[in-house]
Symmetry: C2
Subunit: 199 residues, 2 copies
């Protein structure tokens, strides 16, 4: 007897459930008070599911060990397949040392009308810079992050999100990133990361 | 016949459904592959709800008009009661011209183990600075946002998020903010906002 197939099946289902929850989030924000669905019934059914999850939840301590112990964290709010908040981004490493993800965002991520929330762009870029550090074999905690907003970032259109480690000076790591739409830079980011003394 | 009571009831239900979805998000991230619930069944039930929302959704154009036309937008990913991604923050204006919100964040907002994701802090602060501008009677689009991370921001503990408009020079607005935990500043933010020419 091995626990492998069991673990695999559940991993897939947890991601499937998160993907379905992501659809619910988008559906709810798209509907607001205008949709034709019975929102009170939907609230009841969602609360039932939440009750079920709560009643059968592992302890937070056990879940934290599980999240961080398997070497493949998949729960963060940007690229985490198990996190319904994450769009989620899926990164590809490139030959020039940069990483890149494509994503199209919907109403849950809205700031100005039909545009991505500036803070969501900051969230995506902070994470992307961290992943770019990892792609360069580095690890650091964000010390400073500067975002420049050059034009609005559109919802409903493909965005390209890039990150690239640029320099290292002792424990200080500098990394840049950008969000492009239609070939134009909408937001650029510069991050200063510091490698923990224990790393 | 008036549409008022009907509109009111539905508004409450949309917020209730978002609140329930927020519980589902937290429950899913807390469970991962460790929970005792049948995740495949939960995925099916969430997809059913999403199908129902999709089948009865207003057009995006109608929803955008509704979101932005009623003078009380409630859909953003930080303070929006109708958005399951939002914690949601609830701001109080203070006599010194600042605004403040209290929030305790759970696993969906995690970056480092048991800590708030640096990008989530950026998201919350970007929004808070915008709200602080509004509290000061100003409106601007984020042009530049700088975040400084002084120490890790804990999950599971009350955080105080503040914002305050500090100066205005023509169309340029400068605003600051911070996230405190246990009286210590974890993240500070400085934002430069530019008032649109049409405003």
């Amino acid at each position: 007897m091995t626990t492998e197939p069991y673990a695999d099946t559940r991993a897939t289902s947890a991601e499937d459930a998160a993907a379905a929850a992501r659809r619910v989030i988008a559906g709810l924000v798209r509907a607001g008070d205008l949709g034709g669905a019975d929102m009170a019934s939907i609230a009841d059914r969602l609360n039932e599911i939440a009750d079920e999850l709560d009643a059968t939840a592992p302890t937070v301590e056990a879940r934290l060990r599980d999240m961080w112990g398997n070497g493949r964290p998949n729960h963060d709010p940007v690229a985490g397949g198990e996190n319904p908040i994450a769009p989620p981004l899926s990164y590809a490493g490139k030959d020039d040392g940069s990483i890149e993800a494509q994503v199209t965002l919907d109403l849950p991520y809205q700031g100005p009308p039909s545009c991505v929330h500036g803070g969501v762009s900051a969230l995506l870029l902070d994470h992307t810079l961290g992943v770019a550090n990892g792609w360069a074999g580095l690890h650091g905690m964000t010390a400073e992050l500067t975002l420049r907003y050059h034009r609005t970032t559109p919802l409903f259109e493909p965005l390209t999100i890039t990150g690239r480690h640029v320099s290292r000076d002792g424990r200080k790591i500098r990394t840049i990133g950008a969000i492009h739409a239609g070939g134009e830079a909408c937001v650029t980011a510069e991050g200063l990361f510091v490698t923990p003394r224990t790393a």
